[in-house]
Symmetry: D3
Subunit: 243 residues, 6 copies
C-alpha cells in the first residue's frame, strides 16, 4: 500500500493551509472567515439578551449554532433550503454538532441569561466544512465574549478553553488528515473529531463509507486527529493575539 | 472511584435483558419487536419494488430507515411529530444513522432495483432506542430477505453479515455498557457504537456531555462496546435460527 | 340474498374476538392495547396540567385525542405522516371523532383545568381502527382518572359513564357487525356508531360507498350497532374490574 | 316542551328561503351562488382534462371538491388558511364530505378521464354552509356536464340523479330543520344528511353536542331531513329548468 | 401608430365601468364589492382590538391587508393557496402593496391600539385586481372608521384623505388606462399607480414586459394615471355620500 | 431646505464607492462580489441544462433569481429563513424583481433550453442590497454566458445589453442617489430604478414611506437615477474588460 498522492503534494498528516480572518463583516460581535484550503466558512457570533425557554429563570445562558451553505458553494448548485422550506437532515446534524461542541467549553452560568448564536455559512465548499465551522466559530465566540467583557456586561469569561475540529479518514486504506472534497467523496472511512486545547475528546463521529474499519485503523486516525487539532488550536491563539 | 450501582444490580459490562420477537405484526415482510430492558422498539422491514432517483437505472437497490417515537413512549408526553408537521433534528439524525448502518452490510447490487424500508418505532423508551433499533432492524431485514429468496425474487442474499449496535458511556467516571435512561441523562460521555459480526466498526459516535474524555477512557469504552456487540450478534443469530 | 360467509365463520351480528390489555406500557397514566380481531391499537391517556387557550381561566378541563398509524400497520406500507409533514384529512377526521366521543361522557368542570390527551396509535390494521380506538381510549381514560382520584388530585370522577364504538355496514346487501378490512373495502355502506352505556347515540357517521341506502337498511344497521356496543361496554367493565 | 321560536317565525320543519343563482361568475363551466337564508356559498365546477394518479389509465374520471371560507364570512374574522399555511381539520372534513356526496350520484366511467373540481367558497356564513355547498355544487356540476354534452365531449350524462343536503338538530330538545348559526351554536344534537332524489341516504353525520340522543329522536330527525331534501331537490330542478 | 381598438370601444384614456357596492356582506365593519368592468373584488374591513408586536405599547394602531383569489376567478382554474400550504410571491407582493397604500393615508396614532384588517378577495378576475382592491379597500376602511366614530370608540377619523389606484400600460406602443386581462397579457409595459386625493404619488410600480420604455412614455403613462385616479376618487366619494 | 450631510461627505447625486470582484468563488460559471459602500452581495450565475415546465419544448431558455441574506448581514441578527421554513414576502419580492430585470435584457430563444440561475446572497447589508444584486448579477450572467460561448454551447450571446439598478429617494425633502441604510430608514420616499444601457426603464418601484410625493419630485428622482445608472453601466463594462 503506497501513500496516495494528495492535491498540492500534501503529506498524509498535513493540514491544508488554514487562514483565519477576524472582523470579516462589521455588524456581528464576532465575525470570522475561516479557510481550510479552498473551503471558506463565514462564522458570526451574535449576542442576544434572552435565552430559550428551557434556560429561563435559571441564571444560565445558552450557546447555539446554525449552519447553511450558499447554493453555489458546491460544484453543482444545490437547492436553497429557504426556498425548499426546510433544512435537510445533514444541515440539522451539522448545526447540532457545532452547538454541542461550543457548549462543551462554555461555562453557561458565567454567561448570564443571554444567548450566543453562532451562524456558520459556507461561502465555498471543498470538504471539511463542519470542522472549519467549529474551529472558526470558537474564534468568533471569543471575539463576542471579549466585547461583553470590554463593555462590563461580563465580569469573567465563560470560555474555559479552546475547542477545534478536524476530519481524518482512510483513503485507499491510508490514514490521512483533513480530507478535501475529492478525498472525502472517495474515502472508505470518514471521521470528524472535536477536541479541547488539552487534547481531550468532545466529539468523535466516525463512519465507514465502504468497508468497516478495524480497531488498529481507528487508533491511527485518532492519532492523526490529535496532531491536527494541536496545530489548529495554535492557529486560533495566534489569530486572537493579533489586533 | 467506585462502581455505580446499576438498576437491577447490573455489572458495568453487562447488557440489559434482550428479547427479540419475530413476526410481531403480520403485514410486513419482516416485523421484529426488540427489547433492551424496558426499551421496546418495533422494527418492520418493507420491500418496495422501486428505488429513489439516485439509484434508478443502476441495477442496484437501496436500504433506508425511518424512526419515530410514540408520543407517550417517554416519561413526559412528547409532541407528535406528524402533528407538528416536521421531524426533529434528533429524529433525522437517528434515522440516517440506522440507514447507514444497515447499508454497511448490504451488497446493494445483489438486492436489485428495489428498496428495503426499515421502520423503527419506539413503543416504550428507556435509553438506547437507536441501538436497539439498529440491532432489531437487522433481524427484520434478514426476514424480509428470506422472503425474497423463498419467492425466487432474489437468487443470493445481499446481506454480507450481521450488524448490531450498543451504547457505552462514562457514568460518574465509570465506563458502563448499555445505558438506561437514568444513566444516560446523568452521564458525562455517551457513545453509540455500531459494529459488524467480524468486530469491525461501522459507526462510532461519542459525545462528551460534561467533561471532555481522554484517550484512555475512549479505549475502555471501545472495549466494552466490543464485548456487548459480540453478545448481541449471538442473540440475533439465535433468534433467526428459531422458526 | 344469502348471508356472506365471514372470515372465521363469524355470524353477521357477531363481534370479532375483543381483547383489552391494560398497563401495556409503563409511562402513561393509562395505557391500553385493544384488539378487535387482527386490529391492534395502543391507546394511552396522558394527564397534562394545562388547558388549551379556549378553556383557560374557566376552571374547566379538556379532553383531546390524536391518532396515528405505524407505516407498516397496513398491507402496503403507507407514508409516515411525520416525514410528509402533515396529517391527512382522514387522520384529522378520526382524531376529531375520538376527541368528541370521549368529551361526550366527560364532565369537564369536574376535571379541573387539566387536559387528558388520548393517543391512539395503530400497531396493526384490519378494519375498525377508529372504533377500537374509541373503545380502548375510554378504558385508558378511566385508568388515568383513577390515578388522579387515588392521588387526591380529583375528588370525584369526571366520567359520567362508558362510551364505545363499532362499525356496521352492508356487505353484498347484507347488514353485518364489526367489518374487517376485506369487508370494509368491498362494502356498499359503512357506518360508525358511537354510543353511551345507556344505549344513546353520541355519533352516527354513515356513508354509502356504492348505492345509496334506504331507511329500512339504516334501521337494521342501527339495531346491529346497538347489540355490538352493549357487548363492548360489558367488556370494558370486565377489563376495569380486574387489577 | 314548547316549540322554540325560530328567527323569522320559521316553523320547526321549515327551510330558510333558498335562492339558487346560476352563471354567477363567467369563467367556470358551472358557477352557482346558493343561499340558505343569510348563508351564501359560491359553488363553481371546473372541468380539467386529467385525473389523479389512482384513476389514470382506467378510462374513468374523478369528482373532487375544495371548500373555503372568506376570512370575514363569519361574525368574528377567522384567520385566512392560505396565510396560516394549512387547511383546518374542519375544512378537510367538509371538502371530503362534499366530494363523496357528489361522487355518489356520478357514473365515473361515463365521465371519461377528466376531473370535475367543485370549489365551494363561503361568502357569508350563517349555519349550514356544508349542506348549502353540496346542494349548490350539484347544480354547478349539472351546468358543467351540460357544457360537455353540448360540445360533444360527452355522449351521455354521467349524473345519475340529484343529490342534496340539509342539517337537522335538536334545539332545546325540539327537532328542527335547517339550523341557522344561532341554533347550531346552542343545539344539543346536530345532524347533516345527504340524500338522493329517490330519498335514499348518501351520508348521515350526527353528533351529540350535549346529551346523547335516543333512537326515537334520531327517527324524528331523519323524517325532518327527508322532508327538507325533497324540497331542495325540487328547487334544484326548477333552477335548472330556467335558462 | 393607430389606437388599438379596446373591448367595448373604450377610448385609450377611459376607465371601465366602475361599480362600488357597500354593505355587500353583513358581518364586517366595512364590506364593499368593487367592480372594474368584469373584475369583481370583495373588500372587507375588520376591526381587531389588538396590534402586532411592533406596535404594542406605542398607543398607535395598524392597518394591514390580505389578498386572495377564488380558484375559479380566472379563465383556467388556479390552485387554492390554502391547499398548497403557501401564498405565492405574487399574492404576498399584492397584499403588501395594498397594506402600504392604505397606511399612507392613515394617521395610526389616531386609530389607537387597534388593527384594521382589509381582506381583498377576488371573485372574478379580468385584469386590475390589485388596483380595484386598493380603491375598494379604502371605501371599506371608511365604513369601518365610521362605525368606530359612531360608537364613540374614536373621537376623530384617522383617515387623512382618499387613496385610489389604477393601472396604465403600453399596448402595441399606445398608452392606455385601466387594462383588462387581454390587454395586460399582451402589453409591453404595465404600471400600477397609487395616488392620494390630492394627486400625489403613494406608489408607482412600472414593469417593462417586452421592450424597455422611455422617459417620454413614462410621462404619458403618469398623465393617464392622474386622470384615472381623479375619476376613481370622485366615485369613492359618491359611494360614501349614499346611505 | 439645505442639503443633508451624507455619510463620507457624499454629494446628493453621488454613488457610494462601487467595487466589482469577479471570480470571487471558484465553482460557479459566474461569481461576482459587488460592493456599494458597505453593502456586499455575492452574485453567482449557475447554468442548468433544463428549464421550468412552462418553457419545456419551446426551444427557449429561462433566467431566474434567488435572494437571501445571511442572518448577521444586518445590525440585528435576523432569523434564518431556512430555519423558519419560509421566505418572507420581502425576499420573494426582491428575487422576483431581480429575475424580471435580468430577463429584460435576455433573448431567451438564443439561450436554448437551459436555465441561468442567479443567486444573490447578502454578506453585509447597508442599504441598496437589491440594486447591488441586479447590477452584480448582470456581470455574473455575462461571465456565465462567456463560458457557454467559449465551450461552443452557444453560438451567439443571448444578452442584448447591460442592465443595472440604483435607488433614489427623498431624505428630509432632498432628492439623493444611492441611499445607505440610515438614509433609507429615515427617508420619505424610496424608489428603485432598473434601466438598460440605453437609458430606458425596465422597472420603477417608488414608495412613499411618509408623505406622498409630487410629480415634480418624481422627475427629480428619475433624473438622479439616470445619472447613477449610466455610471454603474460604465463600471460593469470596465470590470468585464479586465481579465
Amino acid at each position: 500500500m503506497t501513500t496516495p498522492i494528495r492535491s498540492g503534494n500534501r503529506a498524509a498528516d498535513q493540514l491544508r493551509p488554514v487562514r483565519i480572518t477576524r472582523h470579516y463583516t462589521q455588524h456581528a460581535e464576532g465575525a470570522v472567515l475561516i479557510e481550510f484550503g479552498a473551503t471558506r466558512v463565514l462564522c458570526t457570533a451574535s449576542v442576544q439578551e434572552n435565552v430559550p425557554p428551557h434556560q429561563r429563570g435559571t441564571g444560565r445562558g445558552w450557546v447555539t449554532a446554525e449552519y447553511g451553505m450558499l447554493p453555489r458553494a458546491t460544484h453543482q448548485r444545490s437547492d436553497r433550503e429557504a426556498a425548499k422550506g426546510k433544512q435537510s437532515g445533514r444541515t440539522q446534524e451539522i448545526q447540532r454538532l457545532i452547538g454541542r461542541s461550543l457548549r462543551a467549553v462554555f461555562d453557561l452560568s458565567l454567561l448570564g441569561e443571554r444567548t450566543l448564536v453562532l451562524d456558520c455559512d459556507v461561502i465555498q465548499a471543498d470538504g471539511g466544512t463542519r470542522t472549519a465551522a467549529i474551529t472558526g466559530a470558537w474564534v468568533a465566540a471569543s471575539d463576542a465574549v471579549a466585547t461583553l467583557l470590554a463593555s462590563g456586561a461580563l465580569a469573567a469569561s465563560p470560555i474555559r478553553g479552546p475547542v477545534a475540529a478536524i476530519s481524518v479518514g482512510l483513503v485507499q486504506g491510508q490514514p490521512v488528515l483533513d480530507l478535501d472534497y475529492a478525498e472525502d467523496a472517495g474515502c472508505d472511512t470518514d471521521m470528524n473529531v472535536v477536541m479541547t486545547g488539552a487534547g481531550h475528546f468532545v466529539e468523535v463521529q466516525g463512519t465507514a463509507e465502504g468497508a468497516a474499519f478495524t480497531r488498529a485503523q481507528m487508533d491511527q486516525l485518532l492519532a492523526l486527529a490529535d496532531k491536527g487539532i494541536a496545530e489548529l488550536v495554535q492557529l486560533q491563539q495566534q489569530s486572537l493575539s493579533n489586533e
